[in-house]
């Protein structure tokens, strides 16, 4: 792992650790209560990339909102470095499913937004922005508006906007959703490289099995309604990672394991009639078939 600390712009080692203890979330809707998360206990380890997986409707987005501080758990605790989460904070940054870049600002203005509202000095803002824009390869595009960028560039701009605040924890909710397959693969490769360079505690949500294993140090699988931790799988693939690993025997092995675990939950979701689960099932079945053929 390369250990350059980004010329002092991005801190090294001062990352947070997230600990969820018996987190339960119940939504009360007109005399009907829905238990979305049930006694979730796991850690997002310091400086590691933890991927959260599970069928649609297992409460992944709710869990993310809880860690981000947008919502509060019904019971249980969420601790960041031993202190409980109390609302959103700039130590955690969320990158959303749909791009949330401000369309009325240029890439540069978007990226420096966090610095501006937090009153970082002009000189420092400029230095940080220049460094981070170069890192994500958007320095030449800094005066463009988001709508003038491709999907992949928009996601990179969004990562830059998140990273400039030097967060202890990055929370990414299916950040590569909606990108075409090729761009998605390139973004995964880009992101894994970035993560390996700058470190940072990552909580990353995805549906994509290959994406999850390729990026993760650990995969946490949630059950379908209510969301409970079904399994935690350590991904022991060596870093730095590159795409050839997708064909390695160890990768295949892990994938089989993940698929089997997900399959049970996806079929429950499928039986419950979730459209998204139907899609996930389709994908799993296709993968399994493909695997048997290649063996």
């Amino acid at each position: 792992m390369s250990n350059r600390n980004g010329e002092g712009v991005l801190s090294k080692g001062d990352f947070g650790e997230v600990r969820l203890e018996g987190v339960t979330k119940v939504y009360e809707k007109a005399d009907q209560s829905q238990r979305v998360l049930d006694e979730c206990t796991f850690s997002v380890e310091r400086g590691k990339l933890t991927v959260l997986m599970g069928p649609s409707g297992c409460g992944k987005t709710v869990l993310i909102n809880l860690v981000a501080g947008y919502e509060r758990p019904t019971s249980g605790r969420i601790l960041i470095d031993e202190s409980p989460v109390d609302g959103p904070g700039s130590d955690r940054l969320v990158v959303f499913q749909e791009t949330a870049l401000f369309p009325w600002m240029t890439v540069y203005s978007n990226v420096i937004f966090g610095c501006q509202v937090q009153g970082v000095s002009r000189g420092e803002t400029k230095e940080r922005a220049g460094h981070i824009l170069k890192k994500v390869g958007l320095y030449e595009f800094r005066d463009k508006y988001p709508s003038q960028l491709s999907g992949g560039m928009q996601r990179r701009a969004e990562l830059a906007r998140a990273m400039i605040n030097d967060p202890k924890i990055m929370i990414l909710d299916e950040p590569f959703r909606g990108l075409d397959a090729m761009t998605r693969q390139l973004m995964q490769e880009f992101y894994v490289g970035l993560f390996e360079e700058i470190g940072r505690t990552n909580l990353f949500v995805t549906h994509e099995i290959d994406e999850a294993i390729f990026l993760a140090d650990r995969v946490v699988i949630l059950t379908f309604q209510p969301g409970k931790v079904k399994a935690e799988i350590e991904i022991d693939l060596p870093r730095p990672r590159e795409f050839h690993m997708l064909a390695s025997p160890r990768f295949m092995e892990i994938r089989e394991q993940v698929i089997d675990l997900l399959y049970e939950e996806a079929s429950k979701a499928f039986a419950a009639g979730s459209k998204a689960a139907y899609d996930l099932m389709g994908a799993i079945v296709a993968r399994k078939g493909a695997c048997e053929k290649c063996e």
Binding site: S90, F102, P103, W104, M105, G114, V117, Y145
Partner: protein, 270 residues
């Protein structure tokens, strides 16, 4: 330079616009000068209108070579601008506040929705009774409908902003003030400008009506006067003057909008 000019003249869009105008004027000429249709007896034909409009010695005393013509324009433009500026400042502020604060919205929305549909002209008696001077009453009538159009569109603009932008702003460390300045204001601009366009249109309409009923000068008043004095040439030339002024004011708002919302234009690929 020459080739650009040539390209403009042969531009099919311009050509079609000219043909459209030509057809309209021809029909007008046909009805009034050639066919002499019964209900069109008193209506002057386009040539008579143009002659009067551009005459050194107009029968009505109002042409582009008379001082009174520009005085009428100045009165009407002044009233409209005053009313429009007021409607923009107050309307945008109220709309933004209503969109920003749920509590404020709860207090204000019902009363806004009750007052909004009242036709501007129905305000004339109260405006004259309450406000000092007829002049301010006319401005008020011009203002009121534009104001509500601006409020409503601004409010819809705030509601149209994607929820994710608020979440993103919050997690990047924004205080409410930052959210207001960086998300609510720019995010609602496209709707605000739609509101301003509508507001400007309504302003001109209510202005003329206000001037007819309560005014002493201005284009609307002069049109009404022309009607009583059988000076129909100047009634029509003043109508076209209003059309041109309305066109210019709309174009000015569009230009300002384009300037303020470069990002919108880029999004549309313009």
């Amino acid at each position: 330079m020459m080739s650009r000019l040539k390209a403009r003249v042969t531009d099919p869009q311009l050509l079609r616009a000219l043909i459209g105008i030509l057809v309209f004027v021809s029909l007008w000429y046909l009805f009034t000068a050639v066919l002499n249709l019964p209900r069109f007896k008193l209506i002057p034909n386009p040539i008579a209108v143009l002659k009067d409009w551009f005459s050194f010695t107009p029968a009505s005393g109002r042409s582009i070579f008379t001082k009174v013509y520009y005085l009428d324009i100045a009165y009407s433009v002044g009233r409209t601008l005053a009313a429009f500026a007021l409607a923009t400042i107050l309307g945008v502020s109220l709309g933004l506040l209503m969109g920003w604060s749920r509590t404020f919205y709860d207090f204000t929305f019902p009363i806004v929705e009750l007052l909004r549909p009242m036709p501007p002209l129905s305000w004339i008696p109260l405006a004259i009774l309450i406000l000092p001077g007829v002049e301010i009453a006319v401005v008020y009538v011009t203002f009121i409908a534009a104001f509500f159009a601006t409020v409503l569109n601004t409010l819809l603009g705030v509601f149209s902003i994607d929820k994710n932008y608020f979440l993103a702003a919050r997690c990047l460390g924004s205080r409410p003030k930052d959210v207001f300045m960086n998300v609510i204001v720019p995010g609602s601009l496209p709707f605000i400008f739609t509101g301003l366009q509508i507001g400007m249109g309504i302003s001109w309409m209510s202005l003329v009506a206000g001037e007819i009923i309560a005014g002493k000068q201005g284009l609307g008043y002069a049109i009404y006067e022309g009607y009583f004095l059988y000076q129909f040439e100047h009634v029509i030339s003043y109508m076209f003057t209003l059309g041109i002024l309305g066109y210019i004011s709309s174009a000015a708002i569009r230009a300002a909008g384009r300037k303020l919302m470069a990002w919108e234009a880029r999004r549309r690929g313009a």
